[in-house]
């Protein structure tokens, strides 16, 4: 057999066996997918967003399908920091893949407390900070829509954490570059983008919103061009590595992001369509590199020819 292309990739301080991760909220705590695939083959798993205390989540209906996508208003339901450490992490820790813990808070302080709570815990490769959450103390506007607030959350988490900090940006902003630069200056090791785009759907017979929460986050192939453009803008604006996510369904989609300069990708909604999408993408990248005699995936990253 010809030499296998090298899929290993460095994302700032993180070393991944390949550039394919699963996105937060779409892969549970990993265990849910274990009967269907070898999780160890993934480049990494980003777990469901963890908060200081458990959260029940929103009233149903929480999801609705839309053209080439879906809206979700799960309401960040999760088991909370303590139960995560006691019940979920022990199984995750046994995996031979990077485990990245996605976190969020209702205030700057709470973000710091969650990050501090993860200190010393074995088996966590990095923290991914979801800044798309409402800032409860300041009228519920998302932290991630304001450069100053984004920077403050980042700085607080960086200070409290004892491992690499990735900040996941909200696309619901006017200029993603300003947020990206503010977060870089505040000390983030890497960026993930994008989170979901805010949207809604209406039941025309009953004339009510289809989601109990009225609005929700749009994900899936419908958002891919938007995600790709935002990744490209961020790549050009900052020096820290960028992880791309949004509507990636197969290896071709993943390549678009890698060529645009993302050093890794995350697979979200596609896990619902096919639970082994991540593995299919890894196989597809391998075959692609072979077909074009590319010895390492590294050679593809950021090779976009722009006039």
């Amino acid at each position: 057999m010809a030499n296998l292309p090298d899929l290993k990739i460095r994302v700032g301080p993180l070393n991944l066996k390949n550039p394919v991760l699963t996105a937060s909220g779409t892969f549970g705590y990993g265990a849910e997918f274990a009967p269907l695939m070898d999780l160890n083959r993934l480049g990494g798993i980003v777990v469901k967003g963890i908060s200081l205390r458990p959260r029940e989540g929103n009233q149903p209906p929480r999801i609705v399908e839309t053209p080439c996508g879906m809206l979700n208003a799960i309401g960040l339901a999760n088991v909370g920091l303590e139960a995560f450490l006691e019940e979920k992490l022990p199984r995750l820790r046994k995996l031979r893949t990077a485990v990245i813990v996605n976190i969020y808070g209702n205030s700057v302080e709470e973000y710091g407390e969650v990050a501090a709570g993860l200190r010393g815990a074995d088996g966590i490769s990095a923290i991914e900070v979801n800044i798309s959450c409402p800032n409860v103390k300041q009228g519920g506007m998302a932290f991630g829509t304001d450069p100053d607030m984004s920077a403050r959350v980042t700085a607080r988490v960086v200070k409290a954490a004892d491992r690499p900090v990735i900040v996941k940006l909200s696309p619901n902003v006017t200029d993603i570059r300003r947020i990206a630069m503010a977060v870089e200056d505040a000390g983030a090791d890497a960026l993930t983008l994008i989170n979901t785009l805010t949207g809604m759907a209406v039941d025309i017979e009953r004339r009510v919103p289809r989601l109990a929460n009225v609005s929700g986050g749009l994900s899936g192939p419908a958002i891919r061009p938007v995600a790709l453009y935002m990744v490209r803008q961020a790549v050009k604006a900052v020096r820290i590595p960028v992880i791309g996510v949004g509507g990636i369904m197969d290896y071709r989609d993943a390549l678009e992001f890698l060529i645009a300069g993302a050093r890794a990708v995350q697979v979200g909604t596609a896990n619902f369509v096919h639970p082994r999408t991540g593995l299919h993408i890894i196989d597809g990248l391998t075959d692609f590199c072979r077909a074009y005699d590319i010895p390492a995936i590294e050679h593809i990253i950021g090779t976009l020819k722009e006039k």
């Binding site: 009233q59 399908e65 896990n271």
Partner: protein, 262 residues
């Protein structure tokens, strides 16, 4: 054990007005499936419709699993056009199925419309002789009996809303009628159908202290307990606020649900 595979369609035939029966070849799922469990089917290899559709397993036969479905939208429309020999991505069996009625006691199986699907599998596996199968439909042309899925000589009491077949009324009326001359009382009531029907059945069973299990439907994305999109409110009896229908259900003890929120 859950399997995700490309399954061949052994047959896909219309069995009632807008209702189809599909046989999918899967020795793995057939071996693992218990009544009440479901499968998630990707109706075609395209980005739209994007998500898989959940369907109860209505029978396990040979190396096939059977699903009985009504065409209600785009996904089921596409399914109805599939032919023998075509293949579909299928994942299952998923969720927690029905429990067993206490030994030697009769079970009452109550269905509303397409809710008949998982109850046929249940009756077939515990033995229809030990069950009273009661079903309600809108009208006579909507009636789906056990014979439609190849289960012959099975008795079913029918109610229709318009009285065009069987008793005029609801399946809850049918159940009251059966209960009035069942001695001893049934050991368990099983129910699947629309929410108002489930509410009525659960209320009767709970009033008489007969254990009652209901099978619920919600919108689903993953089917695996990962997305938390399929939440329903739990009753105060358990120390949690939501159940996930795909994993902790679709079958629930009627007392574990907050019926006011459904």
């Amino acid at each position: 054990m859950i399997t995700e595979q490309t399954s061949q369609i052994a047959f896909n035939k219309q069995v009632a007005s807008r209702v189809f029966l599909m046989g999918l070849k899967s020795p793995e799922m057939r071996a693992a499936a218990v009544p009440g469990q479901f499968v998630m089917i990707r109706v075609r290899q395209a980005m739209d419709p994007l998500l898989r559709r959940p369907f109860s397993i209505c029978r396990a036969d040979g190396d096939l699993i059977l699903v009985l479905y009504r065409v209600v939208g785009r996904g089921t429309e596409i399914l109805s056009e599939m032919r023998q020999g075509d293949s579909l991505d299928v994942m299952g069996p998923l969720g927690r199925g029905f429990g067993h009625p206490p030994d030697g006691r009769r079970a009452i199986l109550t269905a509303g419309g397409m809710g008949i699907a998982p109850l046929l599998f249940l009756g077939d596996s515990v033995g229809f002789l030990g069950c009273n199968l009661l079903a309600g439909f809108a009208s006579s042309d909507q009636v789906i009996g056990p014979d439609r899925v190849g289960l012959l000589n099975v008795e079913m009491s029918v109610a229709t809303d318009d009285g065009t077949l069987g008793r005029q009324g609801t399946v809850a009326d049918l159940m009251e009628e059966h209960l009035s001359h069942m001695d001893p009382e049934p050991g368990m009531v099983f129910a699947c159908g629309p929410i108002p029907m489930l509410k009525a059945i659960a209320a009767i069973a709970m009033r008489r202290d007969i254990p009652c299990q209901v099978s619920l439907e919600t919108t689903m994305a993953c089917g695996l307990g990962a997305c938390q999109g399929c939440a329903v409110k739990a009753s105060g009896r358990r120390d949690r606020s939501y159940w996930h229908v795909c994993r902790e259900g679709p079958v629930f003890d009627a007392r574990d649900l907050d019926w006011g929120a459904l």
